[in-house]
């Protein structure tokens, strides 16, 4: 298996005249925690959405474990504009435009910037429903309870997962009734229920105080080791990013402006300029 789990190659996402992500190329290696940072509106979430199939990128390739999962040809006039000298690399490449559920099936799970738990469901059902995708049943066997063993297995796994995340005592509560920090944690638990190998976290620490942020960082490291995950996250909390991520990519106006270890990025004048403006 190749070293890099996730690889973006010249990914461009254009909305009308706005180029939200511009020729972004990056790699996330197995077992790493990698952060994607940048000022507000830099295109971080858009880049995530290109990976997870929410958007169809205007141009570029995304590969996961060495296999191309998202690909788009530079078409017609745009060819020169976006692909530039790389245009030749796309000759003969098939177009892939997967839906988000297909991406999740491959083993990429995500959380959302604004929490998207299923509101009318309990904590337990939120996690249990995420197991639906991998279950071996069909609508007939599930309805007639022929596959009740599968259901039982799903319930046991869900209970075990919630137990590990210390959420089991909230199992029968509505997901939205949990305090904010626990909702974030539940969203991560729900993503874990889909058996991912790559976890994409979109601002997991948004709205948390320094103490909670610290706990979250430790939690991420802990689940990464436990489930043998690779973590790719968007984050604004610099203390979390600098302390827990191994490498950092910085984008501004959709373009990659810097990448490297936290120390390298911190010292990069381009990053300082992007965040604080040119002095």
């Amino acid at each position: 298996m190749p070293e890099n789990v996730l690889r973006l190659q010249d990914v461009t996402m254009q909305f009308g005249g706005v180029v939200a992500v511009n020729n972004l190329s990056l790699e996330v290696n197995r077992g790493e925690i990698v952060a994607l940072i940048g000022p507000n509106g830099a295109g971080k979430t858009t880049a995530f959405n290109c990976v997870t199939g929410v958007y169809e990128p205007t141009n570029g390739l995304v590969s996961f474990n060495g296999e191309t999962i998202v690909a788009n040809h530079p078409r017609g006039k745009m060819k020169k504009l976006y692909a530039g000298e790389n245009a030749k690399a796309y000759l003969g490449v098939k177009t892939f435009d997967p839906t988000p559920d297909q991406i999740t099936r491959l083993g990429i799970a995500r959380t959302f910037q604004n929490i998207r738990l299923w509101k009318s469901m309990t904590v337990f059902d939120n996690v249990l429903t995420a197991k639906h995708m991998r279950a071996k049943h069909n609508v007939l066997t599930a309805t007639l309870r022929i596959s009740h063993r599968e259901e039982k297995r799903m319930r046991e796994e869900t209970a075990a997962l919630l137990e590990e995340q210390n959420l089991l005592r909230y199992a029968d509560d509505l997901a939205v009734s949990l305090p904010y920090g626990l909702q974030r944690r539940l969203e991560i638990a729900r993503a874990l229920a889909t058996d991912p190998t790559l976890l994409l976290l979109d601002e997991p620490a948004a709205g948390m105080n320094p103490q909670e942020t610290q706990e979250l960082g430790e939690f991420i490291v802990q689940i990464k080791n436990k489930y043998d995950l690779t973590v790719f996250m968007i984050e604004h909390h610099m203390d979390l990013v600098m302390k827990f991520s191994e490498r950092i990519y910085v984008i501004d106006f959709g373009k990659l402006i810097s990448h490297g270890t936290p120390a390298v990025v911190q010292a990069d004048p381009r990053v300082i300029n992007a965040y604080l403006g040119v002095s």
């Binding site: 559920d101 099936r105 998207r116 299923w118 995708m133 991998r134 199992a171 889909t194």
Partner: protein, 376 residues
């Protein structure tokens, strides 16, 4: 997490059995021409179609208004399948056409086929229609229901559908026999049994893994998709299953009515069902059931006097004349919507835990008391 205890399950089974025994005894003792049986039969049929609509609108979050169209397909399929060949070849029913269907089937087979016909049609129109969202989906399904009605009245299809003319002399509720005997099956009990089985299947579906996936789609489509739930596949599934049961209920309606005509399945019928779903509570199976019996009882029985010149012992031919019932009915519905804005049941279900809770002293903490349980 909380799983239902065995006793709760047995209580539920017992309650259902009691209902069936009550219906059986009523049919034995009360004169069969009593209005009560009209209400029970029609109420049961409407509760099936309301529950099927609730599966789609309440549990999957797809606002569809095609129910009358699927009922029509079911009703006609049933009528065509069960009409004896001897009647088809004469001009008793097919007066202006040569009937092109030269077979007939039993009631049970025809009921299943009625559901399947509606389901197949739903699968076909689901391909384009389910790409639409909310109101647009409602408009498109309403349009398709009207198209179905027009097609069934189309002259060129006359040899099959008898054009715009009435279908009759097919097997109705009086033709149902107890299997392997020649004894007539009690008709109200038969309707209750058929709808009971169908509703039970829908409840099992909703409480299965697929039902949870439907609810996930209703709550948040984007999250559902990101958790690996194939949106189109599950929406299509819910649409087809809902249409299947709408088709079966259409067939039962045809059985109950003795005659059936395409002109009857107007969009007004869909609104009637929608009304039942809304009054009962969107997302509540038991709510839909209760509301459909209440609705049918009110419109067919309790408020009948408002049209007939005599209501609650008051004679007044000038006030209680034709049309006054609709007026009062509308006011009642408005009051229900005003004071029970989420329907009678909200999205809760009747559960014995909930009923028992009503008689227990309320906890002191405000907001902690809940009327019904979370599941049935």
């Amino acid at each position: 997490m909380r799983k239902k205890s065995k006793t709760e399950l047995w209580i539920a089974f017992g309650a259902v059995a009691l209902v069936y025994i009550a219906v059986f005894i009523l049919e034995r003792t009360v004169n069969s021409s009593h209005i009560l049986f009209t209400v029970l039969k029609k109420g049961a049929i409407y509760s099936l179609v309301a529950v099927s609509m609730n599966l789609l609108n309440g549990f999957t979050g797809l606002f569809s208004l095609g129910q009358a169209g699927f009922m029509l397909i079911g009703a006609y399929t049933y009528a065509i399948f069960t009409m004896p060949v001897e009647i088809k070849i004469t001009d008793q029913v097919y007066k202006y056409y040569e009937c092109a269907v030269n077979f007939d089937t039993g009631i049970f087979v025809a009921l299943i086929c009625a559901g399947l016909a509606a389901a197949v049609f739903a699968a076909l129109i689901g391909l384009p229609v389910l790409r639409l969202k909310s109101d647009y989906l409602a408009i498109a399904t309403l349009g398709f229901a009207e198209i179905i009605r027009a097609i069934f009245q189309w002259d060129s299809l006359g040899p099959v559908t008898n054009g715009a003319n009435v279908m009759r002399q097919y097997k109705d509720l009086t033709d149902v026999r107890i299997p392997f005997t020649d004894i007539p099956f009690p008709s109200t009990l038969y309707v209750f049994l058929a709808t009971g089985v169908c509703v039970a299947l829908i409840v099992l579906l909703i409480n299965s893994s697929y039902g949870r996936a439907f609810k996930a789609i209703r709550d948040d489509e984007i999250a559902a998709e990101a958790m690996g739930i194939n949106l189109f596949k599950h929406k299509q599934m819910s649409f087809v299953i809902s249409s299947f049961f709408a088709g079966v209920s259409g067939a039962l309606l045809a059985m109950y009515q003795f005659t059936v005509q395409a002109a009857q399945f107007k969009s007004a019928m869909t609104y009637e069902i929608l009304l039942i779903v809304v009054i009962g509570g969107i997302g509540s199976i038991s709510g839909s059931g209760i509301a459909s019996f209440l609705y049918v009882a009110a419109s067919e029985w309790w408020l009948r006097g408002l049209d007939m010149g005599r209501f609650l012992g008051i004679d007044s031919a000038s006030v209680f004349r034709s049309g006054f019932r609709r007026f009062v009915f509308s006011i009642i519905i408005m009051l229900i919507v005003l004071f029970f804005s989420r329907g009678l049941m909200g999205d809760r279900e009747i559960s014995f835990r909930g009923i028992a809770g009503l008689f227990r002293p309320r906890p002191k903490m405000p907001g902690a008391a809940k009327g019904g349980g979370s599941d049935a």
